[in-house]
């Protein structure tokens, strides 16, 4: 199936602001900070070094197949995370799937599942370098698969890592996090939502005009 099938939810193109606006809520995890609009992108609001700024899109997914992703802004020295299936945010018992980079190992990624606040890497980590303008995304088909995707700025989308088959999370919201660091790490265009089914091919109907009426009978 093609990825992505959804459009950008927020380009973050607006005046600098301490808030992302009314379409976003957060944080995703207890103790996370608030990201801010800065230079038509999103960055952290402070430099705690070890924590993250996070937000989730207020409109939850409604079907069993959805996706989320973002564009890497200024890379800086920070890690990013993309979330789907966010449930019980900032409760200490958060549920979600995450495509996340390892804090201490730049370019090492994994698909994680948070279940009642406990985080489990699914399968093995994988390596994917990136630069400003590149994109990452996470696709979920409930009870069937979780897949990570990457697109170089001038390239095309391709799956990275291996497919996972967790079947524990359903529904919820989409979101992201960026490590707190004021050395200008940024993210840009956030996309996602319920996957848009490919346009079905037109039904193939028999061309009865090619047959003489004598061979066409009601059944």
């Amino acid at each position: 199936m093609a990825f992505p099938t959804t459009s950008v939810l927020d380009t973050f193109t607006r005046a600098d602001n301490a808030s992302l606006g009314a379409n976003w809520a957060g944080p995703v995890f207890v103790g996370n900070f608030a990201p801010r609009i800065v230079g038509n992108q999103v960055g952290p609001d402070t430099d705690s070094g070890n924590s993250y700024a996070s937000r989730y899109w207020l409109t939850p997914v409604a079907t069993g197949q959805y996706e989320a992703g973002l564009t890497m802004g200024t890379v800086g020295s920070a890690r990013r995370e993309i979330y789907t299936n966010i449930g019980s945010p900032a409760s200490g018992s958060e549920n979600l799937y995450a495509l996340a980079e390892t804090f201490g190992v730049q370019f090492e990624w994994g698909i994680y599942r948070y279940l009642t606040g406990s985080s489990t890497l699914m399968g093995a980590t994988f390596t994917q370098s990136y630069a400003s303008g590149d994109k990452f995304g996470l696709e979920v088909v409930e009870s069937i698969s979780q897949k990570a995707y990457y697109k170089a700025a001038a390239g095309s989308w391709a799956q990275v890592g291996t497919t996972q088959s967790d079947s524990t999370l359903f529904g919820g919201s989409l979101g992201f996090a960026i490590q707190e660091n004021l050395a200008a790490p940024r993210i840009d265009d956030f996309f996602g939502g319920d996957s848009v089914a490919a346009t079905p091919a037109p039904a193939v109907r028999p061309d009865y005009s090619r047959f003489p009426k004598s061979v066409l009978r009601r059944t």
Binding site: N50, Y52, T116, S119, T120, M122, G123, A124, S165
Partner: protein, 170 residues
């Protein structure tokens, strides 16, 4: 491509400093992880009790599967098809498999009730489904940063068809 089912433990993984995270043992051996990656390896995990996961792993070479089988705490359960029985296991191997399941936290009486007195009479599907029939996904990492305290309820896995789905995928 060869494939096999494994039972593999989780270890503490420092994914980010403000979260406790666990990851499968394969992520901590660079040699085996590199072999898995470069060999076109693919695996799916189904979590179970005892801070372990049932793994189906496929790779281009048998050597990679052998390397995975040698990881600490990891057991290669079988390379058989789901509908085959484990009748060719020796008595010692049957006992070892039963003890492996009990070691996850299942009561011996429950294992025997579910799988019978001779586990060799059961199919791979039945045994694997039993292994993943319960899970305890909650945990905290202890201050030593190497051990876990499992917490939260033990939950029944209501989706045992996941074993068949994973098998079909790999």
């Amino acid at each position: 491509m060869p494939s096999a089912w494994f039972l593999m433990p989780f270890k503490v993984f420092e994914q980010r400093p403000d979260r406790d995270t666990r990851a499968l043992e394969i992520n901590f051996d660079p040699v085996v992880l590199d072999a898995y990656r470069t060999d076109g390896g693919e695996m799916r995990q189904i979590e179970c009790r005892g801070n372990h996961a049932l793994i189906k792993l496929r790779a281009f070479t048998q050597d990679t599967l052998d390397k995975v089988a040698g990881l600490p705490g990891t057991t290669r359960i079988t390379t058989k098809q789901l509908n085959e029985t484990l009748s060719d296991l020796t008595p010692a191997q049957k006992t070892a498999l039963r003890n492996l399941i009990v070691g996850l936290g299942y009561a011996l009486a429950d294992v025997q009730a579910a799988l019978g007195p001779d586990i060799g009479n059961r199919t791979v599907r039945e045994v694997l489904r039993y292994i993943v029939s319960q899970d305890q996904p909650g945990f905290t990492v202890n201050p030593d940063r190497t051990t876990f305290t499992m917490k939260g309820p033990i939950i029944d896995n209501t989706d045992l068809l996941i074993v068949d789905a994973v098998d079909a995928a790999l």
